[in-house]
């Protein structure tokens, strides 16, 4: 059979961001994949030589808007570790709360896009309708809907009143009820299962071998969740990673769906155990030394390497985002798939090229 090379992306109806794959196909079956990046690479890491270590919070928030809170939390934790700053307990709980709100809105965004990629427009609209409510929570509690900018070195810049936290919980109850209504459609509908079950299978061994992270790894049976490190207030909350074993697109959507409910539970726990007190620790000095920090983004493990030399500018900031780690795993999923299944499989890793091309 004659081999044909078909370009997938960087402009494609299912891709909101520019990822390019050169697909080698034989009779519409994928036999090889070659990824190409660099269409929107911004070199944000080099801004450490222009922005000081406190201004860099605003930069890392813009690596990815969808998980800006989690980028900033990771960065602040790294600087705090270098400078031996211990944020107040209330600040840690508030960071956890907003990080989980971000996880909910990111997963809802993905669940909608995933439904859209196989043509289920009404399911897409339902998930995004729910997501609007979560963005309302962001706006009401931080003043911004997406890039919330509440992190500072040593804590957070905004506090929440008891009424605001109760209102957040009541809004999340509405979200939980609405999501429950969509569960049967997402997980039991014939057309959804037809397009997702058995597609893009990644075995547990293969996921480990290819360095998969986040829901992609957990859907293949690897109970790997950086929240188990207990950063922020997560060491005081109860949760277990959501794990599925089938390793296909269906399992990945199931993991993310369950993680929305898990995040709602974590927020309720954080609100019920929220300690009173300050939200920010004052500090003096500048960071020096090397530090490695990891947190769990909606898409998986986020890794920061920070190198500081005691001046106001960092020497090096290296950001390894989860999509970057999941691209080799994607290359392992696609061979053997029908060409028509490529959009579904690509979307199933929740690719964020904004993160990847930081």
């Amino acid at each position: 059979m004659l081999k044909t090379i078909i370009p997938f992306g960087p402009q494609h109806p299912v891709l909101p961001e520019p990822l390019h794959l050169k697909l080698t196909v034989e009779d519409e079956i994928i036999t090889g994949v070659f990824p190409a990046l660099g269409f929107v690479h911004r070199g944000l890491e080099q801004l450490v030589h222009i922005r000081d270590f406190q201004q860099m919070i605003q930069v890392v928030e813009r690596v990815c808007g969808i998980c800006s809170m989690i980028h900033a939390t990771c960065y602040c934790q790294g600087i705090e570790a270098l400078m031996e700053i211990d944020p107040p307990p209330r600040a840690k709980f508030l960071r956890t709360l907003w990080c989980e709100v971000h996880r909910i809105q990111s997963h809802l965004l993905w669940l909608g896009l995933f439904a859209d990629c196989f043509g289920f427009e009404s399911l897409f609209m339902q998930f995004w309708k729910i997501r609007e409510k979560v963005l309302d929570i962001n706006e009401a509690t931080t003043g911004n809907r997406v890039i919330v900018s509440v992190n500072v070195i040593g804590g957070v810049r905004r506090d929440l009143s008891t009424e605001q936290m109760q209102w957040t919980c009541s809004e999340l109850s509405w979200v939980q009820n609405e999501i429950a209504c969509l569960k049967a459609t997402l997980l039991s509908d014939y057309t959804v299962k037809k397009r997702t079950v058995g597609k893009g299978v990644l075995s547990k061994d293969k996921a480990f071998e290819l360095g998969a992270v986040g829901p992609t790894a957990r859907a293949s049976g690897i109970a790997q969740d950086m929240r188990l490190l207990g950063y922020s207030a997560l060491d005081q909350l109860d949760f277990e990673p959501v794990v599925e074993t089938d390793g296909d697109c269906y399992a990945r959507s199931k993991v993310r769906f369950q993680e929305v409910l898990q995040s709602i539970d974590l927020i309720r726990q954080a609100v019920s155990r929220m300690p009173a007190g300050e939200i920010r620790t004052k500090f003096k000095g500048r960071p020096a030394g090397e530090m490695f920090v990891r947190v769990e983004q909606p898409r998986g493990e986020l890794f920061y390497y920070i190198k500081a030399n005691g001046t106001k500018h960092l020497e090096r900031l290296r950001i390894r985002t989860p999509t970057f780690a999941n691209i080799p795993a994607l290359l392992g999923m696609l061979p053997g798939m029908w060409l028509s299944d490529v959009p579904v499989v690509v979307l199933s890793i929740d690719p964020c090229i904004s993160c990847t091309e930081r």
């Binding site: 190409a36 071998e209 530090m291 020497e315």
Partner: protein, 134 residues
């Protein structure tokens, strides 16, 4: 608390990485940073049961180091990134973009490597007095 980092040489790198894989470590990523003068540090990060292991390889800028992508396939992408941004070449890369992962083919310099720029300036500074003497 500063993290523990094990220093390796180019000769022992692949052996150490293979041992990490044998011990069940997951490949996390590589980080590259300038370490003063004409050298760069390449840090190799691995994870097992939420515990990180780091290796540090110090090499001269623009030198060639062995690729670990034959041991951990997932390393090919970040090794290509370091080739683009820092100018270090990886020998034995399973997928080699030849410094075009992020850069256009005509770009000759390494955008994240200020050492090269400093060297160019230094050369100019050295040659200017020579020119004056002549």
């Amino acid at each position: 608390m500063q993290p523990e980092i094990i220093s390796v040489s180019a000769d022992t790198l692949v052996g150490e990485v293979a041992r990490a894989k044998f011990e069940g470590f997951r490949f996390v990523t590589l980080s590259c940073t300038e370490s003063g003068g004409d050298s760069v540090d390449i840090l190799y990060h691995f994870d097992k049961d939420l515990r990180l292991k780091h290796l540090r390889l110090s090499v001269l800028k623009c030198s060639t180091v062995p690729s670990i992508s034959a041991v951990y396939f997932a390393a090919f992408l970040v090794e290509n990134e370091i080739q683009d941004l820092f100018g270090v070449r990886f020998e034995g890369l399973v997928v080699d973009y030849e410094r075009t992962l992020y850069l256009d083919p005509e770009v000759a310099f390494a955008p994240f490597c200020t050492v090269g720029a400093q060297n160019s300036n230094r050369e100019q500074t050295v040659t200017q007095p020579g020119t004056a003497d002549s």
